[in-house]
């Protein structure tokens, strides 16, 4: 029978991967709020994130999805 923690890792990992791919700006803001000034990747009055960081987070998101897929094969 499948281990509950492995199942959780697959489901939550896939969820995090999808969030990283579909909303990379939000993920960057979660990490940088209170640590970096707002809007340095955009304009005054916004919290726009630079395209470079969005790509990095999307790549990490794809990595997450791949690890989750890899764990599926161990079931």
């Amino acid at each position: 029978m499948a281990d509950v923690r492995t199942l959780l890792a697959i489901v939550l990992g896939a969820l995090l991967g999808l969030v990283c791919v579909l909303a990379p700006g939000a993920v960057v803001r979660v990490q940088t709020a209170g640590r970096r000034p707002d809007g340095t990747g955009g304009e005054y009055g916004t919290d726009t994130v630079s395209t470079r960081w969005k790509r990095v987070v999307q790549a990490l998101g794809i990595g997450c999805l791949l690890v989750a897929a890899g764990l599926v094969t161990t079931l």
Binding site: T6, G13, V19, A26, R29, T40, G42, E43, K54
Partner: protein
């Protein structure tokens, strides 16, 4: 906001109880550790913020008008005049770091080129309001709580598992998702504080119109500036525009809403 603050405190309290239970830390050690963690984040954050944009001191000889305006606004708002710095950010921008009594306001060269004097005053008043209202400290504190809760969640997973690859992956994922969850509440406070700073800026200069015009001018200027690469990347980010998840995970309210409130 009191409810949101209480929820944040509850997150922290649960994390503290877990640390006390699992690691056998006494309460004083948990509290000292938390203060040190947030203090280091504050110090490093301020230094990194200024360094990341290459901010330089803006001398009084170089910009006497700007200094005079900041001094007058600071007096009206009842705070010490903050250090004034300038940076080349590539976009019109301004931000405040530090706390009341030891604040710094950074403006970009592009902002000073784009806006007229009254609009710049509106932006400065907004940033000074952030310093007076201790919003920078509040954000560092919020991020500190989110990080502490995420670290505790990660360790809880690691210490209760078999330490196989699935456990390590689960710990990382749970840490990230927990931080995101806590930050939803921090962002709610941040968006509220933006409206408060807008209102305080309008009160300090007698009208919200200059700041509203500044926001309008900057957001109009941003339209059509997206490169083709930006457009391609953003096309994938279907939840990054304004909408449910983006609204929940934004530090600022929509510019249109701020302009509308400033003109009310």
């Amino acid at each position: 906001m009191a409810i949101v603050g209480s929820i944040l405190f509850a997150f922290y309290a649960v994390a503290a109880v877990v640390v006390m239970g699992v690691f056998q830390w006494p309460l004083w050690l948990v509290l000292v550790g938390s203060v040190l963690f947030v203090g280091v984040q504050y110090k490093i954050g301020k230094w990194m913020a200024l360094r990341s944009v290459g901010a330089e001191d803006l001398s009084e000889e170089r910009a006497p008008d700007l200094h005079h305006r900041v001094e007058s606004l600071s007096r009206d708002m009842g705070i010490d005049k903050p250090r004034l710095m300038i940076a080349r950010m590539g976009v019109p921008n301004a931000f405040a770091v530090g706390r009341k009594g030891a604040g710094t306001v950074v403006v970009s060269e592009e902002l000073l080129r784009t806006l007229d004097d009254a609009e710049v005053e509106g932006v400065l008043a907004h940033e000074l309001a952030h310093i007076r209202n201790r919003d920078v400290v509040m954000m560092v504190l919020g991020q500190g709580v989110a990080s502490i809760v995420a670290i505790v969640a990660q360790w809880a997973i690691l210490m209760t598992g078999d330490n196989d690859i699935a456990d390590f992956f689960l710990a990382i994922v749970v840490g990230q998702l927990t931080q995101m969850l806590v930050m939803v509440f921090v962002f709610a406070i941040s968006r509220y504080r933006e409206y408060v700073a807008d209102g305080d800026a309008a009160a300090a200069i007698g009208t919200g119109e200059p700041l509203a015009r500044a926001l309008e001018k900057i957001s109009r200027g941003a339209e059509g500036r997206d490169s083709e690469v930006d457009t391609q990347v953003n096309a994938l980010c279907i939840f990054d525009g304004r909408g449910g998840l983006a609204n929940l995970l934004s530090t600022h309210p929509p510019v249109e809403k701020r302009i509308e409130r400033l003109r009310r």
